[in-house]
Every structure is written in structure tokens, then in C-alpha cells.
Amino acid sequence: MKVLVAVKRTIDPNVKVRVKSDQTGVETANVKMAMNPFCEIAVEEAVRMKEAGSANEVVAVSAGADKAQETLRTALAMGADRAVHIVTEAELQPLAVARLLKVIADEEQPGLVIMGKQAIDDDSNQTGQMLAALLGWPQATFASEIEFKDGTADVTREIDGGLETLNVNLPAVVTTDLRLNEPRYASLPNIMKAKKKPIDRREADALGVDISPRLAIHKVEEPPKREAGIKVADVAELVAKLRDDAKVIG
């Protein structure tokens, strides 16, 4: 089985993000970037599938500017076999990415597409679901465990009440949750090997899909600073405050 794993380059999760002074977005100039943590988990899972013999090839794909190549190199260093870079400087929203990924999925015909449940920059949590719909494939989101049997996959998901296990036919789209695995480090020998692995560059404009944004962002603001709390003497005072000051109870 071939596994297609989609990865996104985002601001490093350890960096404290700053809103741009013109409030059009967050500052990304001179900010450390890294692979989206949920995508790392997806790459790790794909590589483990290959190591376990359930997959025979892992193809990483990323859409974005030139620098996305570095994120693909990381995926290759973690163990992906080859990569596809969909090159574009355009702003990409989830539907656009899903459309681009569909083109690659149609070409590659993987048995499984695995990707992060969301990216830590815009937290959209949409791309995997949209891709499954465009492909007409089953989807299993928020995976915390994946097991293959007889051409299907058992995917355990973390839901509010506990765990839910879905059985999906393959090919399918699976999105990863935090507890699926702990991604490995890219080791130096593997980084060196990754330099020789192929990255296929594809111009987004040439893939024949509409990637123009559907949503406009009007303003990005920092969350309000947390104000200091107050101490109440007893339940009666608490209820009074909730009713009269906070006006959250009647």
C-alpha cells in the first residue's frame, strides 16, 4: 500500500506568536518555522506503517512557498521515500489545499491519505474532511490508533465521552490526533540520505484547480489580557456577583 502524507509548514510551536501591527495576520517574517506538530505525527505514523510492512511507500506532499521544501526534507529525513511540492506563493485556505491534494491523490492512487487533524496556525480542522468529500472516500478524523485488517482500517478516535472505533474501507482519509504516537527525531544520517531523495516540484497554477480564497480576514487581534480575579467570601456573594456584575445568571 502506498501512503500519502500531507504536511504543512507553520510557525514553530515554541515561538510566541505576535500579531502584525496592521492587524492583517500574525508576524511570520524572521520567525522560526517548523513542521506542524500534527503533521509530524502523521509522518511518524506513515513511516511506522512502512516499518511494520503494512505500507510499502510513503509519499510526503506539501503546498506552499519555496520554503515548504525544507519541511518536506524533514519528512524525508523522518523516513518518507519521496516528496511532492506544490509550489505557490498564494494564500491557501483549506478548500484550496484539499483541491490541490485531490489532484495529487488522483495521480498517486494511495491506499491511505494521512494528515494532521489541524494546523496550529489557523486551527481550521477542515482540510482532511474536505479532501475526503472531494475524493468520495471514507474519513476517520482525530485518530489515536490505527489498525489495518483485510483491506480496511480500524481507527480509534478520541471523542467527548471516551473512545470510538470506526471501521473504514480503504482508500480513506485519516487525520491524526496528539496521542497517536510520539514522532521520532530526524537523525543526522537520515538527514544526509534525505538530501538525495527526490522532491517533485509542481506549479500549483498548472494543476487546473481554483485555489482562490473563499474567506476574507478582516482583522486579527491578540486575545484580551486576562484581568486579575477577585476572592469572594461565601457562596451568597458569588451568586450575587454572577447575577449583578457578570450578569451570567438571572
Binding site: R18, M35, E70, R73, T74, Y185, A186, L188, I191
Partner: protein, 393 residues
């Protein structure tokens, strides 16, 4: 050696190594280092992770199990470690101390030790040069290794500031084998040995830790009739000083790269804090008295970086690079100290709070103006050997 052209590639300064190194470092955040610092404990987990990922074997040729990369790659790795807020001082010597074995060791020594060092099965990250009574005046060192009739050597003397000796399996030792009075030049008569510490400790070698203002696992070594096999001699007897000098350029360049990483960390912290901290109704960074020192530290770091790159490019082309390696270390250590002081000042009182990590990094960054060679000795070297002025050392 044939003259190879030396290049600095401004677009690709080992880009492929940087993200993976900083991803690994992200798992060792400030609180990890604060706890180690508080306990004066060795960051074993961090060192093991770097070892397992092969980063400390970057410079060992592939034939011996390393990645066979140049000093520029090693510099990129250590720079990223420091820029991530981690401290390469715990293990940087594992990367380069082996160079003396590689360049001057026998085939047998190379085949025995290098693969073990590459895999991390054994650590060679202790380097014994400095002595309490002679300090920077290395050629006057007093530790002796006397050859016995059976070909073994008996070592006597004392070393100080020997870092990581308790966390190393092997020690590269510089000792006098011919009394200075019997040599023509003071640089002659010194020899280098590779001492197996597991056999030496308790049999004539005692290691005593020294508590210092930073968590650096540094120690004092006492040699009292320690017998080491003749096979532990590296290269020829009496030529040790030369061998050590060969390795020093590598050390200078790599430590300079760590200073560049520290500078980046300080500048990033300082500019973020200056933008965010509001006093008198506006960010403190709006005041030029706060903003300009940070900008100056940045310019100083970028200038120092160019010298590190130049030294590394010369080194990797197999060209002489003594002045450049020393200047890289000098300029980078000054730049990181400037950045450290600026960062602390920018943070005001909060710079002193442990939880900001600034005070710890500040203490750590200060080391590199003293070790492995002090600022003055670099200046003395430039004055004497590059500019031809009268001797002071």
C-alpha cells in the same frame, strides 16, 4: 596540502540540519535546563538524544560510522543548539576531541576508538591541558608521563578545569615526556595520550568536581603514579603540542558558533520583551535607549558570524585558518556577551528571575571570553603572530 578554494555559501548555510536540530532541542525547554542548573546535574537525556540522532558524530568520517561532514556543518548544529536555549557545553567536545585521534592516531587506534565514539558507546569529551600553576602558559605544564622500561608510562601531576571528565570514558591528555630543560624549544617534549578513564580512576587518577557559577561538570584531576599502556600514546612522542594545536582551530570555530547561537537567543528574547513590555504607556522598545543596544548587538552578531563562516570555509578547504579561527572565537564571544548584557538590561528586574532563563544563559555565555582560550591570549596571538609585534607570551 593543495590549495583548495574556500567558499561561503550565504544561501545555504547547512539549512537542512537546522530545523531537525531545533526540533530535537524543543524537547529540552527552559525548565529542563533550570532543573539541571539548580541540581548542578549533567543533562544526560539531552546528550543521549543528540548522540542517538548522530549529531555528535557529524565530523567522524563515514568509514568509522560518522557522517563525514565538515566543520561548517558542526558549527550549524551547535549554533542551533544554543539558539534553542540549550547548552552544547555538555557535549560539544564529543564532536571535535576525536580529531586528534583521527589526524594523528595509528590505524589501530582509529579502528578501535572512532566507531565507538561515533555510536556513542564510548565518550571522548574530556581534554586535559590546563594546570593550576601554569594556566594559559601551556608549554610550561608540569604533568609528566615517564616512559618505563616495559614501554608503559607513569603519569604524575595535576590538571584543573577539565570539563566532563566524570561523563567521559576517554581523556585526551597533554603531558611532558621530556623535561623542558632537555628540549631545544619549549613546544617540544610534550606528548598526547588517550587515557581510558574506567581503568585509570582509582588506580592513580582521582577526579574531583569543582562547583562553578555555571553547570559545566568541570573537574580537577590528580595523577599519582598512574600507569597507562604505551599503546595510549598518540602519534610520536614529543610532538604532542603540535597535535593539540591542530585540533584547536576546530574547537575555536565550533565554540564561536555556539556564541552566535547564544547571541541569537538573547536578541530574540530581548526584542520580543522590548516589544511587549509596556511602561509609561508604551512598549519599552519604542525608546531608542532600549532599542538601539539590541540593534547594535544584532549587527555585532552578524559581523562575527561572517568571521565564523570564513574560518569554517578555510578549515573545510584544508587551508590554514589560525588567525580566522581565533578571531571568530574572539568576536563571537564578545558579541554574545554584548547580547547577553543587553538582554538582561532589557528585562530589567525580570532578567534576574530564574524562570526567564536570561540569568542562566547570561552566566553560561560569560564563559567563552575565558575558555577555551581567554580574550587576551587571542589578542596576544594576533599581535605577535599576525602583526609581528613583540612577544608577551
Amino acid at each position: 596540502m593543495s590549495e583548495q578554494r574556500a567558499f561561503i555559501d550565504l544561501d545555504d548555510d547547512h539549512r537542512e540540519l537546522r530545523e531537525p536540530v531545533s526540533a530535537l532541542c524543543a524537547r529540552y525547554p527552559g525548565e529542563y535546563w533550570r532543573e539541571k542548573d539548580r541540581e548542578r546535574a549533567y543533562p544526560e537525556e539531552f546528550v543521549q538524544a543528540l548522540t542517538d540522532a548522530g549529531f555528535l558524530a557529524a565530523l567522524i568520517p563515514e568509514r568509522y560510522g560518522g557522517s563525514g561532514l565538515g566543520i561548517g556543518a558542526g558549527a550549524a548544529i551547535l549554533e542551533e543548539i544554543h539558539a534553542s536555549g540549550c547548552n552544547g557545553g555538555a557535549c560539544h567536545a564529543q564532536m571535535y576531541t576525536m580529531g586528534t585521534v583521527l589526524r594523528h592516531g595509528s590505524d589501530q587506534q582509529k579502528e578501535t576508538y572512532l566507531p565507538q565514539i561515533a555510536s556513542g558507546a564510548r565518550r571522548l569529551q574530556a581534554f586535559g591541558v590546563t594546570e593550576p600553576t601554569t594556566g594559559s602558559d601551556t608549554t610550561q605544564l608540569r604533568t609528566t608521563a615517564e616512559r618505563r622500561p616495559d614501554g608503559d608510562y607513569t603519569v604524575n601531576g595535576q590538571k584543573v578545569w577539565i570539563s566532563r571528565a566524570e561523563h567521559s570514558d576517554l581523556l585526551l591528555l597533554l603531558a611532558r615526556t621530556t623535561p623542558a630543560a632537555e628540549t631545544k624549544k619549549r613546544t617540544e617534549g610534550l606528548s598526547v595520550f588517550l587515557v581510558e578513564l574506567e581503568r585509570a580512576v582509582g588506580n592513580g587518577l582521582e577526579i574531583r568536581p569543582i562547583r562553578t557559577m555555571i553547570n559545566h561538570a568541570t573537574t580537577e584531576l590528580f595523577f599519582d603514579d598512574l600507569v597507562i599502556p604505551g599503546s595510549s600514546l598518540i602519534g610520536e612522542e614529543g610532538r604532542g603540542f603540535r597535535y593539540i594545536l591542530d585540533g584547536m582551530n576546530a574547537e575555536r570555530i565550533l565554540i564561536a558558533a555556539e556564541c552566535i547561537g547564544d547571541s541569537r537567543w538573547f536578541i530574540e528574547k530581548a526584542s520580543a520583551y522590548a516589544t511587549e513590555r509596556q511602561v509609561f504607556g508604551r512598549p519599552i522598545g519604542a525608546n531608542q535607549g532600549v532599542q538601539f543596544p539590541i540593534a547594535e548587538a544584532y549587527a555585532q552578531m552578524e559581523a562575527a558570524r561572517l568571521m565564523v563562516q570564513k574560518a569554517a570555509a578555510l578549515f573545510d578547504a584544508g587551508r590554514p585558518c589560525g588567525p580566522e579561527a581565533n578571531m571568530a572565537k574572539l568576536l563571537a564571544a564578545e558579541a554574545s556577551w554584548k547580547a547577553a548584557d543587553t538582554c538582561l538590561q532589557t528585562h530589567g528586574g525580570f532578567g534576574f528571575a530564574e524562570e526567564y532563563d536570561v540569568e542562566r544563559k547570561f552566566r553560561e555565555a560569560r564563559l567563552y571570553r575565558v575558555a577555551p582560550i581567554s580574550t587576551n591570549l587571542v589578542l596576544a596571538y594576533l599581535g605577535q603572530h599576525v602583526l609581528g609585534m613583540p612577544r608577551s607570551y
